[in-house]
Point group: D2
Chain length 406, copies 4
């Protein structure tokens, strides 16, 4: 069983070149699968077809290919290049590095299956009584004088059947959601998307959780708001309450933000902050009265950035601005979606999923959480456009401020 | 701008039907993209082509489609069905449920874009001065008398550009690795794969970490070995040492396996167990001498199941059977890969990645870990065939024993 | 600098024995810290005092201790026991296993600090020109003839200063929240607590998230309700909606619960289920009308178990029974807290934290989640009594049903 | 049943004051538990005793306390302060905020248990037919005219029995390992520890995993080495191989570090890099030959920083400098431990646990990982001194460089 790739390009349909080539293949008993079929829409763009061929033996394949060639079919029957190892434990420069998919090499007219299939090895080839054999060879097992495959010519890799899609390719790091990718690049990406959205007159929606305050990152978010990078804020009672607690009392959920230590009776601080705002009647009133002098909510009020604080059953208080009814809160959020080009979701599963529910898929969405599960939950609930960054909100916000020179 | 889907089936290439339809479309100024192109390999299987058409207006589209129809092209220009809501807050039965992709409806010859795009809503339609308009309508906003779309006819959904692949479809729960899927189904799946492998004369490789012992699940693994379901065991010093500790002293890393509490001086237990086996010279000798009377390693030795204990830098002791050199251990593992049909990787990132490195992609591989990160790491390192189960090893092993009636 | 532990017991205060011993120590220049001070409340119970002594040298210590002894002070000045290794790489049976805390041994009147401090080693002792020296010795470095410490006598371990509390002890597996502990033991523990609560006439509160349905575990929860083990249910729209979806349509968030595969148009199923219940007016009505024939909500209604469905901003629909206002929902939950003895929180961070907020600390609380972060969040918000199980809800519920023979 | 706290200070033992007070309490039928007992070691430091008293009624308690007072016992019988709410939904400023522990208030000689125990509420008090009653009152339920407790006077909080230790205190954020704490503070803390260690002539050990390279953070680690902040490096084959891959080919595990995208045939890059170093014979030789011009390993070699590359079974190649035998690698690591004052463990569970195994508890140890599980594993294996930072290595290293002005 040998396989080959056959390419056709040109005006294949009008002159029915494709039909004729397929007839030739059928006649020779060579099976084919279409791997690519790109029809040329205009006369100056050719139709391109790639076929994956399977023949019972190399001779049949060769004859069928030669017969196809008269119609302009392009194929390769190149053979592998072998290089002798010059020292123990070292592969020749340019060595072919294996995948874990079934692999054949083409050598002297033979198609030889590589034995002991294993990724990240060289391919060692030897002649055994006139028949070629090939095996994977881990680097440390190379011996001087071994003959090893170099380059890609003459190597045929067959993905597992379930992997036989157009885009099947062996690679590492294919998971979108991983804590091991360079985050800085993705934050730059988000910054560019924000700049582009602003240039196009679109708005930027920020959805945030209280960890932004707990982690000491609220000043960075406030900066983004003050500098005009954020147009709407969606959050809950907790983000606003701890932001105000931090401004009034220097703590977040009782943790001193300067030292990271627990503050005496600190667990009552957010309640005291909420209580004072309730007395004032609203966050805006409390700012007016001088009770709040900085932070995220202060930045929103001072710069006229609208916010929706949606309530939940775990709220203390809550702050007077919180919409406690979930369905009314959804409607309040809906009223702000139109015109949004970029949405940043930071450190909140509840509000991110709720916002994802009402966002068109065309909105560039970045979901930042220290837990990969949050990102997975978001896309599992239909917000497939979300690009996940598994990282600290503290890192994200400081880097984003730097990128935007905010 | 209106879009339509056109399907062609039959002997499209030999008679060049396809070429002729494409000529018609070009002549009418209708653009097309190939969405599916399945060439019939044998005369009894038709070639199937699906085209995504884009026309400047509905009239052009209609004319082009009618001209194509003479060549056997199938198309639909069905219109939406509207049903009046009979009560507030309730959609009509059979309502069309929206996605977050750009959506048009076809009504009275008009293609109308749905406004306020949002997933999980109905589509409300109204006539505004002779022009139809349509908007998403959340369930709670329905009012009796509203006219809403029912079914799929006449609704056109356009995935975001980057999503335009053949398999693009709006859905939930698309992540393979998620802690929210029914695990029992996947464990049944693994059990069936093991049974099938055994029937086909293939072998089952088990790769395990010490959490199997810590969690009290070693008896289940021992059972699988005793009943013949496991043919090879790959593990490290820790699994074997704690398995022997549990058998000798009733604890695992000092935690009493009957009570879950800490045992006095329990942190020395594994060292005492290792020390005794070192004195005996090997695990087999220790079993011979009656020092070990049960557990996973005992099951291996008594049933002749080969094991490779690969060392690592965090090993205490180690046990005399441990291969301390990583490269020699790799080679020892390689010697057992041939003929393996199913590989179970349970609660060990190190050994799972190491085994994945030397497994062909054709081996059915199940990776079980309580942490999604481990599964992501495995597939990020090239073992794409791995099916991840984010769950407890304790749950997996008890359920697997039950499924295999072991 | 040598340290010793001194114990006193008896009627130490009335006769001022303690004062006299402390005078002796002061007179000899030996410093002391109180490690334990248990005053006998009644005449038949002695007062017990443990002191940690520090003297500049062993001779001073010896003299002070002997002078104290006349008042009944108990002390030990036992020396280490040494045993010769009889073979390479193996410690003597009963070997002293080191911690990573500063360690001295007492030998021939000398207090010798152990060099190369490292956990999980033996202690090798040798005489170097009349002075004893001691070093940690990893197992593999033991040579036949080496002299090694056996047992605990004469070994003094000094925890790091910040660790000097009464309960400081070297051990493994000290984290309460870990995925590596035997879960089955903890589930048995929960089952016993439930049985005890029921016997004492207390009530059992169950707080659950939709993953219970997604994972196929709803039948187990329904069983617990039917068998009378659950007295109140707190949940959100999602658990109820997917439970009803599963009963009506066989899917949960569109995933077929029998096969684990995606169902065509499955993402609309929960909306259809919610819509039908909205038409019926309530879950109870829908059951009455025969629309729902099983599952968790059916069990509640049929067995008169009260439930509070608290709304959130990510709700679709919602179901008519959902209390959409968060503060009203809190109040509805509060109305059910009195008399609760055990609370099970399964697979929901939002509802668990909200319930934890209103529970007295005396309620036995078990928090089950596949993500350790959820448990950490709960205790970080004041619900310190919560016992965390990092595991699947599917495993927890099946095992709990088995334990309760439900 | 009423409780009170009694404090004694002075020369309690010599004059047996303590014994006399205890006699008085016994005589009145008041039970006591010692909460604190701090013996004054020197004549100028008093002995301090805190007792927790329980009497059957307030009158008994009062008499016993007055009788004790003649010996200098200090006690308080202050009563609660009540303030009227001046508006609905707002507590009086300075309100007492509840915990979830059993609580009594002392008012007009009565000790009244607070009903409906719940954290984060006020305490509302009313007179019901001459008997006082008290209940928790959530903020939103306050009505103008309600009388609420202000401050701490007269409020008695009884922790749950199992919580009755000296340090029991109600608080939030008590978990050491949490992703919600301010990381920047902890990184500053680590920077100060490093500076202090260097000033004291101690050495800094860095233990790192390959995610440092994957995340694009290798330049920051290289900077720390070049600037003299790191004295020893422990790592595996992967960190070194990908560091060299990044330097030679611009990728890490095939991911382009500038763009974050996959590189064509990138999965072979690390093998090519390893192979070239194997040909050179060592990393130092490869640098000498100009094959490597920057990065972490280059910084080590150029600045004479020793490194131990410990092998594992998942290694490709490996690099010639890797010690493939785990036990030999442990010994090589041991040889560098002496004199280490600070250890940074970044993004590697395997090497962190292995290093933790051989570190004295006195070494300041910081463990940085994006996964809380890694930190939990480390402390569960005995390295209790480790301070965990659940964050990105990228964030940690950039912030550490900034803190150290490196």
């Amino acid at each position: 069983m040998v396989t080959e790739r056959l390419s056709l390009a040109g005006d294949l349909l009008d002159k029915n070149t494709l039909g004729k080539v397929l007839d030739v293949l059928n006649a020779h008993g060579v099976k084919f699968q279409t791997r690519r079929f790109k029809v040329g829409e205009f006369s100056d763009k050719p139709t391109i077809v790639d076929l994956h061929l399977t023949a019972p033996d190399v001779e049949t394949m060769r004859r069928a290919l030669e017969a196809s060639a008269v119609f302009g079919a392009l194929y390769s029957l190149e053979e592998v290049t072998l290089v002798e190892a010059d020292m123990d434990g070292v592969l020749p420069e340019g060595f072919h590095s294996t995948s874990n998919f079934t692999t054949h090499i083409h050598i002297k007219g033979q198609f030889v299956e590589v034995e002991n299939l294993e990724m990240d090895c060289g391919i060692r080839v030897w002649d055994e009584n006139g028949r070629y054999r090939a095996t994977t060879c881990p680097m440390h097992r190379v011996r001087a004088g071994d003959r090893l495959v170099v380059g890609f010519d003459g190597v045929r890799i067959s993905p597992a059947e379930e992997e036989q899609r157009d885009d099947a390719e062996f690679r590492f790091m294919s998971n979108e959601v991983s804590s091991e990718r360079p985050k800085r690049r993705m934050i730059e990406h988000a910054a560019r998307a924000i700049q582009k959205a602003k240039e196009e007159g679109k708005r930027v929606l920020f959805v945030g959780g209280p960890a932004i305050v707990h982690s000491g990152s609220a000043p960075f978010l406030a900066r983004l708001i003050e500098k005009g990078w954020i147009d709407i804020l969606f959050a809950g009672n907790a983000l606003a309450a701890h932001d105000i607690e931090a401004n009034m009392l220097g703590t977040s959920l009782g943790v001193d933000l300067r030292t990271g230590g627990s503050s005496a009776h600190g667990h009552t601080h957010h309640l005291r902050a909420i209580n004072r705002v309730r007395r004032a009647g609203s966050i805006a009133n409390a700012i007016e009265q001088g009770l709040i002098s900085g932070g995220v909510m202060h930045a929103c009020v001072k710069h006229g950035i609208p916010f929706v604080l949606a309530g939940s059953i775990r709220d203390d208080g809550p702050l007077p601005d919180v919409i406690t009814d979930g369905i009314r809160a959804q409607d309040a959020m809906r009223a702000h979606i139109s015109g949004v080009g970029v949405c940043l979701m930071v450190a909140t599963t509840l509000h991110s999923v709720a916002t994802g529910n009402i966002l068109p898929a065309s909105v560039k969405t970045y979901c930042v959480d220290s837990d990969a599960d949050s990102v997975i939950k978001l896309t599992d609930r239909g917000t497939h456009q979300a690009i996940g960054l598994v990282t600290d909100c503290e890192f994200f916000l400081t880097a984003l401020v730097a990128e935007l020179a905010a």
